[in-house]
Amino acid sequence: MRTPGAVLRIAPLPLAVLLALAGCAPTVATPTGPASGTGAPPASAGFARPDPADVPFLTAMVAHHDRTRVIAVAAAGRITDAELRTLVAAVDATEADELATMRRWLAAATPPGDPAGPDAHSGHTGHDAHRPPSPTTDPDLARLSSAAAERFDAVLIDVLTAHQGRAVALARAHRPVAVGPEVRDLADRIERSRTAQIRLMAGLPAARAG
């Protein structure tokens, strides 16, 4: 169950996202050591704790990835075009990995026991995974669930193009100000792969028909 408290801890995010988009990623004093914030890349294997300046981006991307996975669930079994179906499955699989990685980083960024921990809701909840999403609370899901079968691919392409476009914008805004090299690499990969996904979808027959 989501508790009302969960809303409170998420509420500051839009401001952080706005700052990140404006190129004003907050500079936070980091007590962790000389390497932090100086651009000296820590050894890749030793990347244990993201810089606080990277946390708002990672938090926003976790929410974004969660959302991708909700859309993928809503699309399950309804996609006609085989190429689109393959793409959505691959997007879902790759974002599941990225999600796990980002949650691990964010968990390391939060002191143990901090109730604002970003990983607080990533616990293993068994078959909650199969509970249907709710179209009543979400315009995109409402569009997908009400789309006629022959229009579904076009609607999904529309929804996913806008959604991945937001990932491109977030990543493009954060990459130049990213502190951790791993986070910068992630932002770079997100920007490039989502741009390519959008281009791929634009070339599908359903996109042209829509």
Binding site: I10, G77, A96, S134, R189, T195
Partner: protein, 243 residues
């Protein structure tokens, strides 16, 4: 620009939505090679599998089951031995590769044929990599067999289940302990899908089992996809397993 302005609003919406909506847990793991039944569904090699096609990694149920579908009714197709599952021809020693999309701490992995446990691999309670490979000796078995592989998670009561259809041949040793229907096909050591090789190329469509080289390393495709910039093999363990 409209898109830029839309981002924070939409992100806030996404967060709200993720609170209101049951977000799928990032599950989990399955055997990608030799292809398990769910892998064959995901590849489209066995059609009309239903939902499992999109989440071959989600066959999760309580520990101790002996079914291919973990007791999940909408994955019941995995139990249906009459679905014409293609069997992979193997020798007496078989390397099974798990693709793990969430790397749960592992109690152990178990491999069963019929009611017999043919192998156990201890996980030591630690977190596995994105892929895990085990080589199992099946020298006591021959002919067509349905192998059940189980990934027992250390910190939950659950396990992940994968059934793999094998045509076991070649290996000598003990007599076959169970009656085997009819080993009609001659044993061939070659994998069922010949894996094209070459340098990883963006824009190329890859199928499970395809092999590419990238940055001096060789990778095997574990999830069908069209290669994209940003999805280079070392960056996407969900798509490529390093060999």
């Amino acid at each position: 620009m409209r898109r830029t302005i839309a981002v924070p609003l939409a992100s806030a919406g996404a967060v709200v939505a993720s609170l209101a909506v049951a977000v799928p847990v990032q599950a989990h793991g399955y055997i990608s090679g030799p292809p398990s039944r769910q892998a064959l569904c995901a590849q489209g090699r066995v059609p009309d599998c239903g939902q499992i096609k999109y989440e071959p990694q989600s066959v999760e149920g309580p520990k101790g089951l002996r079914s291919c579908n973990a007791g999940i009714s909408h994955f019941a197709v995995l139990n249906d031995d009459a679905r014409g599952w293609p069997a992979t021809s193997v020798g007496s020693s078989v390397t099974f590769t798990w693709t793990n999309t969430a790397r749960h701490a592992t109690s152990n992995w178990e491999y069963f044929i019929g009611g017999t446990r043919v192998a156990t691999v201890d996980g030591g309670g630690s977190q596995p990599g994105a892929t895990v490979s085990h080589t199992v000796n099946l020298g006591s078995w021959s002919g067509r067999q349905k192998l059940l592989a189980i990934w027992n998670i250390a910190d939950t009561a659950n396990a992940f289940y994968s059934c793999v259809d094998l045509q076991i041949g070649g290996g000598g040793g003990n007599p076959t302990p169970t009656p085997t229907p009819s080993p009609t096909r001659p044993p061939t050591p070659a994998p069922t899908t010949p894996a094209p090789s070459g340098t990883w190329t963006a824009g190329q469509a890859y199928r499970v089992g395809d092999q590419v080289t990238y940055g001096g390393a060789t990778y095997r495709c574990v999830q069908p996809h069209t290669a994209l910039p940003g999805w280079e093999p070392p960056n996407v363990p969900a798509l490529w397993a390093r060999i």
